[in-house]
Symmetry: C2
Subunit: 161 residues, 2 copies
DNA sequence: TACTTTCACTTGCTGAGGCAAGTCAAAAGG
DNA sequence: CCTTTTGACTTGCCTCAGCAAGTGAAAGTA
């Protein structure tokens, strides 16, 4: 199996295999590790933390649900149900967009911001331990470049198909 | 917020934020994109594909469940239930390890190997499109190095804690 | 104005995964 | 030997996510 033809052969060559295995481990085990830490220390998932964090940096702590879903790489039902959970705990308030009744605006409440701030330190520390600490500055740069390209490709796949 | 202290500050600096956002998109949206393709074309998940693929390259197409779980970054219950599904479709056979009755051996059947071979081309093409095509050879190398380090750290976290 | 289309969001149903508890086999200790 | 401990695997309960179908608001069209 000489990996001469690159995008045509239906298999990966050895170098590609190694990269692919490492990427699989990262996409499977890293979210699991983050979920365990956040669930244990804060009772929320990594996904839920990301939603709260993204809302917290939005103008007025408010976003349309559809925009929030896109930047959080979420489907609409998934976000809708997360919002149900958030509203039940008074971390987020939903209301129709006054300018266009089809949209719904989500706003982070003070309690929601408090929850985020309280959960952040241990979570950020975990991210640093697992992702940043093992890498040199140059490796972080390279990783950022490569992941940004892959992320853009995946996003294009999700949207335009 | 000058990001001078690295592992101590409870926040990420701007460069770290960019890398972290790209990594989040990859770990969330990439598995989702792979799952969609495999579910649509083969009726299995990315995780299930990985299990079958790993078994297929094992000696005698056979592994202990605990070893298989480790290399697939799976918990034991998760793998156990995947095996229930595989056995129901006759893709895998389980039997007690003759040498030590505590272990269970899983063997890929001919039907299971057939399923894998049949699913591989489109899946591998998807992986190449989303992960390899957007990168130059040098970028792939750098990505492999960084991901391998992160993967090792995450694995250590899972096992030894 | 009425009808259709489009779009944002929600709901119902089903399947998968996590955790904690249970089962069973082998080893360890008395 | 018998008991206790360890370790591998499975089971039950619950939550969460995906999909497809449903609702309701705005825009386009006759």
């Amino acid at each position: 199996m000489m990996g001469l033809m690159d995008t045509q052969s239906p298999w990966l060559d050895d170098d590609q295999q190694d990269l692919w295995q490492a990427l699989l481990t990262v996409v499977i085990a890293l979210p699991a590790a983050l979920d365990r830490q956040l669930q244990r220390d804060a009772g929320i998932s990594n996904f839920e933390y990301g939603v709260l964090a993204r809302l917290s940096v939005a103008d007025e702590s408010t976003m349309r649900l559809s925009d929030l879903a896109r930047v959080c790489d979420s489907t609409q039902p998934r976000l809708s149900k997360a919002m149900d959970r958030f509203e039940a705990r008074d971390w987020v308030a939903r209301r129709p967009d006054p300018g266009d009744g089809r949209y719904t605006l989500a706003t982070l409440t003070d309690a929601g911001r408090h929850k985020l701030v309280q959960s952040a330190p241990e979570h950020v520390a975990q991210v640093k331990r697992l992702v940043f600490d093992p890498l040199s500055a140059a490796q972080r740069r390279h990783l950022g470049v490569a992941l940004t390209r892959i992320a853009a490709t995946v996003r294009r796949e999700v949207e335009g198909s």
